[in-house]
Amino acid sequence: EAGVVQSPRYKIIEKKQPVAFWCNPISGHNTLYWYLQNLGQGPELLIRYENEEAVDDSQLPKDRFSAERLKGVDSTLKIQPAELGDSAVYLCASSAGAWGNAEETQYFGPGTRLLVL
């Protein structure tokens, strides 16, 4: 079974440019998560989707970040415009169960490493 797929794996852009990350979750997983991981830190949740609905986006900086999960499968996370402080790893994860199931295991993708110059 294929795991969570993310692309690109690496991205280097200049500040003020837009950037987009793509995630394909494990087949059949209803819940999808986007995390931000700064160097030397643990992942921090940006947004969680239950099918196509964003059920928790309280940590998403909505002035420059946006996300969508059309058709409840693939998801795209966008930053426009990017700032120097956005340099980090952006992780996508998925889980099979419904929102609120405390014992659902999250499966993570390899992440996209973003460098903003």
Binding site: G42, P43, E44, W99, A102, G109, P110
Partner: protein, 111 residues
């Protein structure tokens, strides 16, 4: 914000030795989970312990949970070079089961 705090921040041991990593947290939890992250790769779920459990085993892993002290420990027995990675504790809390990660522990196992 990050609820879990791991201790130590870095640990270096010889292959075959045991590695003990600790995690403390602040608020009540549904469960506590440990993840491993190898360099350049995503996180891999290792083990979950429920708030009403005190100890759990999985292969060479042993996890304990003390809810009165709001702390957990992860023991890796008979460590191998392949165990070299960063280890994160993550607390699952609230009605929406949000997962909150600590800063992680860097484990180096010398061959």
């Amino acid at each position: 914000s990050q609820q879990g705090e791991e201790d130590p921040q870095a640990l270096s041991i010889q292959e075959g030795e045991n590695a003990t990593m600790n995690c403390s947290y602040k608020t009540s939890i549904n469960n506590l989970q440990w993840y491993r992250q190898n360099s350049g790769r995503g996180l891999v779920h290792l083990i979950l312990i429920r708030s009403n459990e005190r100890e759990k085993h999985s292969g060479r892993l042993r996890v304990t949970l003390d809810t009165s002290k709001k702390s957990s420990s992860l023991l890796i027995t008979a460590s191998r070079a392949a165990d070299t990675a960063s280890y994160f504790c993550a607390t699952n809390s609230g009605a929406n089961s949000k997962l909150t990660f600590g800063k992680g522990i860097t484990l180096s196992v010398r061959p």
